[in-house]
């Protein structure tokens, strides 16, 4: 069981209201991964959105570029909410990692029930997509070296 207090501590949710946090907590679950494991692979179906709680994750893009996520509150797996619902990167654990896991389907149900919540959430997701665009769309390292 995930509590609203835990979600409130995450930077990603700092703009969310208490009832919204309560709804998110009701669909959230804990997820633990060991060092060296891949949480998801690029190109695979994206059923979950994750929030980093503790540990370090390396987001590896197919072009060879990568982005380490170290602090709690980083979101990964935004593709669970954005078509074509396939992960755009591989998430590799550089240490033992703890995450909050949200089902994409359940999030969509919450978005349909509360438009303001949906707008706030998608605004955050859009910000993350923009931040990581340079990594995602950079020239492939293999082509660069050729």
């Amino acid at each position: 069981m995930v509590s609203t207090r835990e979600l409130r501590e995450l930077d990603f949710f700092k703009d969310f209201q208490e009832p919204e946090l309560a709804a998110l907590a009701s669909i959230a679950s804990h997820s633990r991964w060991n060092e060296g494991e891949a949480i998801f692979h690029a190109g695979t179906p994206a059923p979950y959105l994750y929030m980093l709680r503790a540990g370090t994750i390396l987001l590896c893009f197919p072009n060879g570029r990568s982005l380490p996520l170290r602090e709690g509150g980083h979101a990964l797996g935004w593709s669970s909410l954005v078509s074509p619902f396939r992960y755009t990167a591989t998430a590799l654990c550089l240490s033992d990692v703890r995450l909050y896991q949200f089902s994409g389907r359940e999030l969509y149900r919450l978005i349909q029930m509360d438009a303001a919540f949906g707008q706030r959430l998608m605004h955050k997701i859009a910000g993350i997509m923009e931040q990581r665009k340079l990594y995602r769309e950079g020239t492939s390292i293999n082509r660069r070296k050729a």
Partner: protein, 164 residues
């Protein structure tokens, strides 16, 4: 003539000593080469650097500052930070550097991890995380987001050296 007399007459002792010397010299050379094989292989891996354009340009050399008349000349010292690592981490760092020397800088972290696994380096993810945290490996600047390089202004020391 038989026996020792025959050996003396045919310079047998000199031939024996020469033969033993040659054999043992050869064994010594072989032992020295095998004992330093790791160093030779590291030099071989770096051979490309010797032929790269710009060879001979020295990096981060201290520059003597011009002093005002009457003032003693103070030699400038290149600023390098020291990072203390355990012996296991130093070993991993050396192994990573051999790999990144082949990959070239800036390099891809997923490729580094892949090669590290192939080379049998233990706990490569954990070591990479500590090198990123200690900023031994940093993201390349400019238009290369997501690619990384070793910091040049940092030197690695063993924790035993710090204690001593």
């Amino acid at each position: 003539m038989y026996g020792l007399q025959a050996i003396n007459a045919a310079n047998g002792w000199a031939v024996t000593i020469a033969g033993v010397s040659i054999v043992f010299t050869g064994l010594l050379v072989l032992a020295a080469v095998m004992g330093n094989m790791e160093r030779f292989l590291a030099l071989w891996d770096r051979k490309g650097e010797f032929f790269r354009p710009g060879k001979g340009k020295l990096e981060a050399q201290p520059v003597r500052q011009a002093a005002a008349p009457g003032e003693p000349i103070k030699p400038a010292v290149a600023e390098t930070a020291a990072v203390a690592l355990a012996s296991e981490q130093i070993e991993a760092a050396n192994a990573f550097q051999l790999i990144t020397n082949r990959l070239g800088e800036p390099f891809s972290l997923p490729q580094l991890l892949e090669k590290a696994a192939v080379h049998g380096i233990s706990h490569p993810h954990r070591h990479l995380e500590s090198f990123l945290k200690l900023r031994l490996i940093v993201e390349s600047e400019g238009d290369q987001p997501g690619l990384y390089q070793w910091r040049k202004d940092v030197r690695i020391v063993g924790t035993e050296a710090e204690v001593s």
